[in-house]
Point group: C2
């Protein structure tokens, strides 16, 4: 493996997104939990896909989107995740490499196909996700290259990894290597229902292993079991080096030791599809963090990157984010 | 003077509001600074009043609105301010007493008439204020009753008092009495242009004499001469016991020593007129504060009171705020 130094290495579910528009009646008719990510099996995935309207496919996966965002900002990124050696696996590998990310996890040659996420975007730009994990279930600690992790300033992990059983072991191995190398471990809580499924473990992680935490309002409220954002904020203080709590159009709150910053969302003339908003916020934040920027600036870059990705359909940037960054600095 | 104990005594300009709707063309044609409070002389007040459309009169004044709000919430309030012994002075005295506030400052028998504020409400519910100070210029330290101040848990002062020259002396006298009695001094910065006029003195006040500070985003940014809210927030930390920084629909941020709270605005189905929003927020906050509530709860009551006053025309509550409070607690 390369001796290259990375800003951020991400470990996550390698997923191809299948996006289409849908109305509330469709969500209701198929019993879909609006705005959430739900795990489904192969049969359910096939049935839903048959019922789905015209769609577009694009490489996705939460941590993968984040690393693609880091690369688009000019950072050095690597990704670890499992695809099958099938057509969608080829698409995923092509896209993430074409975005400048190092991706060398071997494909699985047999077993379930590459993971897919059926994403239904409603008129309010909200996305409802149904994920068939497929090949992601094969990811294990053997896929974690110690050389990559020990050469990355930040190892970024998605909470969704708690769902496939062996990925958790990969996660723990990576976190230990990163900590032993004196580097940072970042975690995104991913989804409020995901937090529900793994709350006790996530609380322990946040208190003991995570340096940089990302969570949106629903996720952080779920973690500390409160319905009041301010209570969740207070519970988060002192738990990790820095926590970035995002609130959609209300911007983000950064907790860093005794510091607390209030950062506005970047303006978006027309929100088209919120898929990837949190992923790209994390990309911008981590790009700033690994460049040594103070917390406010990190959050500001996160807000810019998120604004780009919600202004179009799909979860990866369509404009090189370096251009946005340069425009902002002018 | 009474031996009654007060929760809050306010000192401010005693003003009758004259409200009407206006469009942007009217503001432009008369050179009015949109959203701000501008001081005008008697001639200008007459000319603007002649040009003004149909209007409604109601008792106003920033601190007076706040104390009326405290009373409406069930708190014990007193007000110190100067009216003339004319018809508007009678209206002001009637209204504030009818709202349950103790008001015993003697009227001036001669000199300029009772102050008035011409308020132009535009379609976006924003208010543009033109104030003729009139009798307020007569307020001086002799009007500050030491017995009232020393029996109030909080002495609340409006930044607008820095405009009439002798009111400042009243302000300082009151602050000293309050501090010597072991009570608290609260200040609202009132208006970004008011902060511009008196910045150095306000900075000194905040650092040395004020326990509880109220400011909206524009005011706190003006105080510390930054255009970034987060920078103003950081500059405010450590300066006074508690600071409540309001951001309209974005809610408020409370800084209290090492504590920092993020509090949402209360929902308002339709914003009609933002006149008095900050005044009533302060009312709710101070009501909570003098009842011994923690900062988050104080801000929450402030948000409720502000939501009531912006849902109708005029700067004083139209629904008894105790009812709102009870409804919220249910």
């Amino acid at each position: 493996m390369t001796e290259k130094v990375f800003d951020v290495v991400g470990i996550g579910n390698a997923i191809v997104d299948i996006l289409s528009h849908a109305d509330d009646a469709f969500l209701a008719a198929h019993g879909l939990a609006r705005g959430a990510m739900t795990l489904i099996d192969a049969d359910r995935a096939s049935a839903l896909y048959r019922a789905m309207g015209p769609s577009v496919e694009s490489s996705g996966g939460s941590a993968a989107n984040t690393i693609a965002g880091v690369a688009s900002l000019g950072g050095r990124g690597a990704f670890i995740g499992k695809v099958n050696n099938d057509q969608f696996g080829g698409v995923f590998r092509h896209d993430i490499r074409a975005s400048g990310v190092v991706f060398e996890t071997p494909s699985s040659e047999e077993g379930p196909p590459t993971a897919r996420c059926l994403i239904f975007v409603t008129n309010d730009a909200q996305r409802t996700m149904q994920t068939y994990l497929g090949a992601c279930l094969e990811l294990g600690p053997e896929d974690v290259d110690p050389l990559v992790i020990s050469h990355a300033k930040v190892t970024y992990l998605e909470g969704y990894l708690w769902d496939p059983p062996r990925a958790k072991q990969a996660f723990i191995k990576a976190a230990e290597i990163a900590r032993n190398a004196g580097h940072k471990v970042a975690l995104t809580l991913s989804d409020p229902f995901c937090v529900d499924r793994h709350r006790a473990e996530f609380q322990q992680l946040v208190e003991k292993h995570v340096d940089i935490l990302f969570a949106n309002e629903n996720e952080i409220c779920s973690l500390w079991q409160t319905d009041r954002f301010d209570e969740a904020l207070q519970a988060t203080r002192g738990k990790c080096e820095v926590a970035a709590l995002t609130r959609s159009a209300r911007g983000s709150i950064i907790v860093a030791g005794d510091e607390l910053h209030v950062v506005d969302a970047a303006p978006v003339p027309h929100v088209i599809d919120t898929t990837g908003a949190g992923d790209l916020y994390a990309a911008g934040f981590l790009f700033g963090y690994t460049a040594g920027k103070p917390p406010y600036e990190c959050a500001r870059i996160g807000a810019l990157a998120a604004a780009e990705v919600i202004s179009h359909f799909g979860a990866r940037p369509q404009t090189p984010l370096t251009e946005l960054l340069l425009a902002e600095m002018r």
